[in-house]
């Protein structure tokens, strides 16, 4: 009995798929860390009174959000040639850059939306007691906005995680790529894809559940 389970096509693919999951998580997490930094800066740019800064960040956000991530990664990987920038971009690097840009653009809007969602009265109350604009942002607006950013940021994690599956087209051996390689060799297409999806779900479902609890706790 145990032998048949252990020998099932579902289980056999696992070690191979887990290798893929590792890379999927590395791309997602690294991409999101850089994406958060980029997004926070771009989000601030979108709130800026300077027309130039506002303009640049708006173009960035619109271009990235208005084009498919698949086109972006192909552009980064194949479109930008080695002659042009002097270094060869590996598939993994291209993948991380694509997630960074993409998450960055969406996080910029999350940041902007969170700041805008804070009642204007908060800003006015801060200024009315004599705080500078900077102090008001720092002590009053940001702490409240940051709380509101947590649920959409968690959501962005799930989206970025799923986006990494697109990188199989540039032969990054993330989870889906590993699955495809595996079923091409064994012809166990159905079983392998079931396992691939289960692994994605094992990350995304708990994340959603945690998010929902956090949301309730934060009352946002």
């Amino acid at each position: 009995m145990i032998d048949t389970i252990m020998d099932s096509p579902y289980i056999n693919s696992l070690p191979f798929l887990i290798e893929g999951l590792k890379l999927t998580l590395i791309i997602t997490i690294t991409g999101l860390i850089f994406g958060f930094i980029l997004g926070a800066l771009a989000g601030l740019g979108r709130l800026s009174k300077s027309r130039i800064i506002y303009g640049i960040t708006t173009v960035f956000v619109e271009v990235v959000r208005g084009t498919p991530i698949l086109a972006q990664v192909l552009f980064i990987y194949f479109g930008i040639s080695e002659d042009l920038i002097g270094v060869n971009i590996s598939g993994l690097t291209a993948a991380i850059i694509a997630i960074t840009l993409n998450a960055g653009a969406y996080i910029a809007e999350i940041v902007r939306g969170a700041v805008y969602s804070i009642d204007r009265g908060q800003f006015e109350a801060g200024r009315a007691i004599g705080l500078t604009e900077k102090q008001t942002m720092r002590y009053i607006i940001w702490p409240q906005a940051f709380k509101r950013m947590i649920p959409p940021l968690g959501n962005q994690f799930i989206i970025s995680l799923k986006d990494t599956s697109l990188f199989s087209v540039i032969a990054v051996n993330e989870l889906l790529y590993q699955g495809r390689t595996y079923y091409n060799a064994t012809a166990e297409v159905f079983e392998t894809l079931v396992m691939v999806c289960i692994i994605y779900l094992m990350i995304t479902v708990p994340t959603s559940l945690i998010l929902r609890r956090v949301e309730r706790k934060l009352d946002v």
Binding site: D119, Q122, E124, A125, A128, I129, G130, L131, Q135
Partner: protein, 240 residues
Amino acid sequence: MITVKDLHKSFGKNEVLKGIDAKVDESEVVCVIGPSGSGKSTFLRCLNLLEDITSGEVTIDKETVNDPRTDINQLRAQVGMVFQHFNLFPHKTVLENVTLGTTKVKKLDANQANELGTQLLEKVGLADKANEYPDSLSGGQKQRAAIARALAMEPKVMLFDEPTSALDPELVGDVLEVMKDLAREGMTMVVVTHEMGFAREVGDRVMFMDEGVVMEEGKPQQLFESPQNPRTQEFLSKIL
């Protein structure tokens, strides 16, 4: 204490204040009444430059508010403002709400700030709420906390924008009591209000605003009992 000369304020093409002249003496309590949309809030918000002034001049304690050389943050610290919707900081405790400005603007150290904050919370009857968050307070308590927050800056002038109109009727009294105490202590106050009882009892002068101008002003007794302007008469007949 406050002088307003030919104050105009437009939002885009919409001129909301059409030339206001006013004077508030030290320790005077001036109540501002008038129909909705007449520009009462805008007038008040121009006094501490929460709204840019389109033209005219506002001086508070000899400092011109709308002079680019004036340190507006320093000036705002001396002009307390109380809002209709309290605008307490929800992520800070009641005491922290009161002490924030004293530590960040007046640069008191934490001990001094807490001492002053606790004293003020006692004054407005909220000593026992110091460590609670605003969410757990009633409307009247929130407004009293907001008053304490403004007082912590030791302002020369207090501006109130309909401080009781978001409150359940049974909670209005406590807030008005605190304001009466302030008036008795000699605070200079400008109060936009619908509480005619308060205006009558505490106000030294009442200004009636309509369509962006001061239509009439005078002692409460005089303005309420024998209003001269037909618009004032009409307004008062509706609300009294």
